[in-house]
Subunit: 185 residues, 2 copies
């Protein structure tokens, strides 16, 4: 089971008032289904259903005793999940499958004309920076460019090469000295 579904199952299990209360009761001592139903004013069928969700999350386990099912809280599991929440890598891992460039692509698509060049440079800073991150891929690491060469390359994106050039320097994607330009490393 993936970390993501494991976390979802865990949170879902405890995100419902009656289930959280079941966990609270079981934290005191194990109980049979019948008892829980009485304590919570719910039918046994409903309690059984809640317990199955808690069990799927690994938070409770049933022990058979006669025709009773005695459920007990799995404190280990609770502790383990809490510790994983404290770990720095857990949450970012959940977003591992998100395509972090989807926004950039959407912005570029929005501003692109049929010829592949931009119809206009975005006015919004955030979107202009998307264009700059795109523009910077035209240049090769280590190579030095004259301003004329820079302009020629940037013209493939948009005719306002001066704004693009200035932007690239400003957010430090490129550097300049003595009329030469190169990629910041």
């Amino acid at each position: 089971m993936s970390t993501e579904t494991e976390l979802i199952d865990f949170f879902k299990a405890l995100a419902e008032p009656k289930r959280l209360k079941i966990a609270g009761i079981l934290a005191q001592r194990p109980h049979a289904v019948e008892e829980l139903a009485s304590l919570l004013s719910l039918s046994e069928a409903t309690v059984s259903h809640h317990l199955s969700l808690l069990a799927r999350a690994g938070l409770v386990r049933a022990r058979a005793d006669g025709h009773y099912s005695i459920y007990e809280l799995q404190k280990d599991r609770l502790e383990n999940m809490a510790e994983r929440l404290l770990a720095k890598e857990t949450l970012p891992a959940v977003a591992a499958d998100v395509d972090m460039h989807a926004y950039d692509r959407a912005v570029l698509r929005n501003f692109s004309g049929p010829d592949g060049r931009l119809k206009a440079l975005p006015v919004q800073r955030k979107k202009f920076e998307v264009v700059l991150r795109h523009a910077v891929t035209l240049f090769k690491p280590g190579k030095r460019y004259t301003e004329k060469e820079v302009n020629k390359l940037l013209a493939r994106i948009h005719e306002d090469t001066a704004s693009l050039r200035r932007g690239l320097i400003e957010i430090k994607l490129m550097q300049r000295a003595n009329g030469e330009y190169w990629l910041a490393s």
Copy 2:
């Protein structure tokens, strides 16, 4: 806000796949609503709604920047909640308002006849013990009783005083020596 609603809000916030993913993305760096919508293929309205639930749980906070709302994850809050899950008193506190005697009362009511005495002694061990816990309240701490006195008191509950007497000794609610009975302390 009570601990219970605080926990429910926290779990609910993270119990939904898209919201968990938002938390995962914000764990990497802050993002605007528009960006999140792009990354998750959701409308901005939907993302806005998700963010409001995460905010209610204290997990994210918005910072205004131009007409953008830049949302950032509140790691402190996440850590604080995880630590509370690790604390032994948190879960039991959630069940503090549960009437722990509801089951006992239900069992006694079920077996009681119109005269207040039991129609029958429960056969199920678990329920028989409920009756014993009830029976033991007939006796006073410190006082010594003859078997005859014990029987007279127990008869108020059910005529099968022998079974009741034996049960009380067996689960150590009462003690016996030299034909005298008294409450276990």
